[in-house]
Symmetry: C2
Subunit: 521 residues, 2 copies
């Protein structure tokens, strides 16, 4: 039985020791992490300590020969030694009273029985002393200005633009850096905290979920997992019940082949994706199926949810209105809405006349007044703004999707700013599409600033609408679930779910131990 | 019966008259088109003529009061007058012997019975005199340095980077400009020629397909259509048989709701998508279902097909090898491969040993040697290059998919350049993924230059692989179809297809005439 760990030392350390800092190899993980943490802590050498048994210095800063030489209490030790050298240093740090560990190095359970024995002993000590351990075999924790142990060299790392509300948990360091950090950077989505789990020797998705659920900065939580830690699927689901924060899960290894690589029990495996989907749905966790969904959902939830954006909670259940300036975009968005089961409001004749009433003479008689509303390429800023106002005021409309093409000559570069004003006033969710070329940034940036999601394709915008619809439905389901919580059907479902996943995890571990690295990649 | 038109005057005019040029309104279509064509023809006022009944000048260049005043023969007249003023000018131009027409203006069949009557009379004259007519209600033709009638203002237009091998045909001006021009610009895909069809009063998808099939510049042809011109589906399919060029079709209005907007015959409609898919497959036309597929397929075909890239025709049928430096990317790409039914080679023990044999000591014992091959974050440039060489030489591998993360410290900025050399030597298709951030451009640009497709997501890269697989299968099917060409099953299928589409087109026209503009939007 694992204790309830205090994760503050690993996420918000005052003092950090990096154990295993090369003095000569700039690509050495210890070198990179030592330098990076000195950077984010403003070069305070009384907060960040580098350890190298031979001493020496890094870019002019002296290293310590042993953690016992460090003049301060150490909150977190970041271990960057070879696996074989890790255990003695780990024990020293435990003896010294270090309060948390992030073990970056690989070479443990994922590579050999000897490595597994070392990992098991570290885990035993961690649990015994109640000191949290992240990893081993991970890229670690991202939470500046406290800590950043991401091991890729500074010149390659993508620094998030600012502090946001998105917490990220990934079983793969590559996916953390690429599908989360890189894609979020492209989309101007800041991050609150991120962590890569590695081999999950001690801390796994359940403890991190618990921490993020309590973290006031984090309002949206995104997971990439290839499996739950053995027997932890059930706790994960139950933990998700304790919050109204949005939780997303992209599960890798869903496909038959991906699964087949891990197990020969095809029948059990084939049913697993459905069991997973059902369990996530019951527990109001957003089930992410593709990379495109991931980036769209992250953007929609980061921008639209949270304490500063109360309009997100407005009811939305298939009552969308689409506004476009190109009939082709109307047709394509209708096709996609159908594919995603997004409902569109059927406007009454009276509602259509309300819309027509605000249109300029050039557009009044040629606009398409169905849903999608096609303002045509003859429209101007006022047409867009006035139609938006009508739709925002219409209680039958829960969400507006606006497909902006910057080509019509009467649409000015002020359009984005005016749209932001309408949304600010009416507080109903608006999702937009606008091509992301640099020359159209004048329209896009004011919308970014106002937390209006701007998709990079019609599809991405529709996926963001789908995200809002799923979240609204999850809210409803959560209310319902509280009533039927004890019903057998639920219990049975997640017991089966936990059993199957646990079985698969074990098989994967057995198999991977002999073939490929597990955990971090 | 339409004659066989000579389309040279509309696509490659020596002389262009723009009829209806405002002297004061810089957003007037005639003003924009006159200026743009002067620009692309190097300000040769003896090649581009602007017409305004009141005369006057535009930015210092004199206009003509009538086409009869123009001192040269006119190859193409670009009509930018109001619908009501168009017919007399059209007749004058016919009398003068103008050889082709592009009618930009709207206000014809898409808006009123009166407009339809004018359009019908223009069509009658066009057919009677054998003079081609594009439009009305369109953004026209893009083929610099001959002509560019795209009506959006210069500052908003995205100028393709260079002349390419992709011909574009769109029923929607918005989709032409956005899903084709904008997205291709983002992806560095140049364009050979483009045309927007508008109301298709005379020229439709069949004549343009015929022209592009014969056009030596165009090797890949992308269509966006919302329906075939009445009774022309069959000709379109048969015409596609006359070429080995790659033809793609994104059909808008596929969804039940999209269709419902156009017709109440739900049963006929529901079957239509399947009929369409079946017909396109039989005729080796690539059926594009989503925007994401469109941009991925366009990129894959533009870069990999054509006379200068013979390696594209190498056999590929589900024998892909995936190489990654992140286990998570391996898992996600396997999931996607499964979803897209892309087959991966199962490497034998001997083949795995061949791969292991070329790896560096740091990677040899930790790399995953299945398929995907996971070189891990410890790999260097040589590992990637040498594994690529092994796979390129292996006749069991038809296509290599390389997922490059730029984060591993031992991967240098020279990697893309070295990869390009391997592909150049071995001439087997390689598709890559690399995040598109500016700071990684040093890896990406040499691959762009070598026509190696670089996707912007794992999914986009896999969709490009799917494109290659579909094309290879279409080649096979085309051989087969030549044998069974006369079989009843085929004939029946496309007769049914033509009948259903024709029926829908008629209903759409009837309905749209009363409600929303057709054709260009």
């Amino acid at each position: 039985m694992k204790p309830s760990f205090d994760l503050k030392p690993v996420f918000e350390p005052e003092t950090t020791a990096v154990i295993g800092v090369s003095t000569s190899n700039i690509y050495n993980p210890g070198f990179i992490i030592y330098q990076r943490n000195l950077n984010i802590k403003g070069y305070m050498t009384d907060k960040v300590f580098g350890i190298n048994p031979k001493g020496g210095s890094v870019e002019g800063t002296e290293l310590y020969r042993s953690i016992f030489d460090v003049p301060k209490n150490i909150d977190v030790a970041v271990m960057c030694l070879r696996a074989g050298d890790t255990l003695p240093a780990f024990k020293d740090a435990i003896d010294l009273g270090v309060k948390g560990f992030i073990v970056i190095s690989g070479g443990f359970a994922e590579t050999s029985p000897e490595g597994k024995a070392i990992q098991d002993e570290m885990a035993r000590l961690s649990v015994h002393h109640g000191v949290p351990l992240i990893g081993p075999n991970c890229v670690g924790v991202y939470n500046p200005p406290y800590i950043n142990t991401i091991i890729i060299p500074n010149e390659r790392f993508v620094v998030p633009r600012s502090k946001g509300n998105l917490g990220i948990v990934s079983q793969s360091g590559g996916v953390l850096l690429d599908q989360f950090f890189c894609k979020n950077y492209e989309r101007d989505i800041p991050i609150s905290k991120a962590v890569s789990l590695g081999n999950k020797a001690v801390l796994d998705e359940v403890e991190i979920l618990d921490y993020f659920v309590r973290d006031p900065e984090t309002e949206v939580i995104g997971f990439y997992l290839e499996g739950f830690a053995t027997g932890r699927g059930r706790e994960f689901l139950l933990k998700s019940r304790e919050t109204n924060k949005t939780i997303m899960l992209l599960k890798g290894g869903k496909s038959e082949r991906g699964m087949r690589a891990a197990s020969s029990h095809t029948a059990a495996i084939a049913s697993n994706e459905l069991v997973l989907a059902g369990a996530l749905k019951q527990f109001s966790i957003i089930n992410v199926n593709t990379e495109q969904e991931l980036v769209a959902y992250v953007k929609a939830f980061s921008l639209l949810s949270g304490k500063n954006k109360p309009f997100f909670t407005s009811e939305f259940s298939g009552n969308m209105a689409i506004v476009t300036v190109s009939g082709g975009h109307g047709v394509l968005s209708t096709d996609i809405s159908d594919r995603y089961h997004l409902g569109l409001v059927d406007f009454s004749d009276g509602e259509m006349e309300d819309i027509r009433g605000v249109l300029s003479p050039a557009v009044k008689n040629i606009a398409g007044l169905g849903n999608p509303i096609d303002l045509t390429g003859s429209c101007n800023d006022d047409d867009v703004v006035h139609v938006l106002e009508v739709l925002m005021k219409n209680p039958r409309v829960g969400l507006v999707l606006l497909l902006i093409l910057p080509y019509p000559p009467m649409l000015s570069m002020s359009l984005g700013s005016r749209i932001a004003s309408v949304v600010r006033l009416h507080r109903k969710p608006l999702i937009t599409y606008l091509p992301w070329l640099a020359k159209y940034e004048m329209i896009k940036e004011p919308m970014n600033e106002a937390n209006i999601p701007v998709g990079n394709s019609i599809e991405e915008a529709l996926l963001m609408a789908k995200a809002v619809q799923m979240r609204a439905m999850a809210f409803e389901r959560a209310k319902y679930n509280k009533i039927i919580d004890a019903q057998d059907v639920l219990i049975q479902d997640y017991q089966e779910f936990t059993r199957v996943l646990g079985e698969i995890s074990k098989q994967r571990e057995r198999k991977k131990r002999n073939v490929t690295p597990d955990g971090e990649h």
